[in-house]
């Protein structure tokens, strides 16, 4: 393994395959130019190699910086999985319309039961109406601009909290360990998506990043 190979291996650690390939192309071209310049200045091949690598600096520092601006392997995996889920739903028309119809039906039923004074049933119906509506039905509407998506995300978090409050009511404190565990998963997904949003230009965002 050459010095450049081991530098590249460290610098591209935990980056996605595409990001790593991009870094390799750039650094390789940079290294060749630096090496040629050193050799034309009279350095031996080995000295030129050493100088070119030294000029690149610490590979671990570069890796840290690359991971802040290029997709990591785990982020690329989340994007792939998200695309697969979206395709699975959007390619089945019956599933798509069922997911829109379910929250609407649940909302209508909740209104009817609330008018009849059945508070408990209303509460039980509102939870799936909010959950399915937000997670599956709203993404079928035109929320795919950065500003609309910001509003959607804010509303989504409010609705998740409302949904949990409805589901657990006064027992929320007793079940806080479960609530925190559930919210932690959502929070992690949201954090990863925010990181991906920073790394991709808006024009390159897949639909899932707007949600």
């Amino acid at each position: 393994m050459t010095r450049l190979d081991s530098w590249l291996e460290q610098a591209t650690r935990r980056l996605s395959r595409d990001s790593a390939a991009q870094v390799r192309i750039e650094i390789q071209a940079h290294y060749e130019s630096a090496r040629e310049a050193a050799m034309s200045g009279g350095a031996t091949a080995d000295d030129a190699d050493q100088q070119a690598i030294a000029a690149l600096g610490d590979a671990r520092t570069a890796n840290c910086q690359y991971r802040k601006v290029l997709l990591t392997a785990s982020e690329a995996r989340i994007l792939r999985q998200g695309n697969w889920e979206a395709r699975a739903i959007c390619s089945r028309v019956w599933l798509k319309w069922t997911l829109v119809a379910l929250p609407v039906a649940a909302l209508i039923a909740a209104t009817v039961f609330s008018l009849m004074g059945a508070v408990e049933i209303t509460r039980i119906l509102l939870v799936p109406a909010l959950g399915i509506g937000l997670l599956f039905a709203v993404p079928m509407f035109p929320v795919y601009t950065p500003s609309r998506s910001r509003i959607y995300r804010a509303v989504k978090w409010l609705a998740i909290i409302a949904m949990l409050a409805l589901a657990f009511g006064s027992d929320a404190l007793k079940w806080s360990w479960l609530l925190i565990s559930c919210l932690w998963v959502f929070f992690q997904i949201e954090r990863t998506r925010a990181s991906i949003r920073r790394k991709l230009q808006v024009a390159d965002w897949p639909k899932q990043l707007y949600l």
């Binding site: 071209a29 630096a34 600096g57 520092t61 601006v69 230009q201």
Partner: protein, 103 residues
């Protein structure tokens, strides 16, 4: 000399006149600063990618001497950011000069 935080501005300045690749940007910065601003070249590319993510530069790959090379060019937003950074830098350097001049 450590010039943390100013590298993106220096990159935009290096790209102001013509599109170029990372190695030439690094050389330009070193030459134009007469060797005062020395930096590790491996950190140049993350900064370039960040500028690209922010839409301040655009890149394309072309073949030079038989090897693929990524060229960067400044965008209209990049030019606006550069002129803003330039004005901000003038203000800061003036203020520092005044303070150090008083000492």
């Amino acid at each position: 000399m450590n010039f943390k935080g100013t590298l993106p501005t220096l990159i935009l300045e290096a790209l102001r006149h013509e599109p170029t690749h990372g190695y030439r940007i690094a050389q330009q910065i070193k030459e134009r600063s007469q060797g005062v601003l020395d930096f590790k070249e491996g950190t140049l590319y993350p900064a370039l990618h960040k500028l690209e993510n922010e839409g301040l530069v655009k890149s394309h790959t072309s073949i030079e001497n038989g090897r693929p090379r990524r060229y960067y060019r400044i965008t209209e937003n990049g030019r606006k950011a550069l002129s803003k950074d330039r004005a901000h830098w003038r203000e800061v350097s003036q203020a520092v000069t005044i303070i150090l001049g008083e000492a």
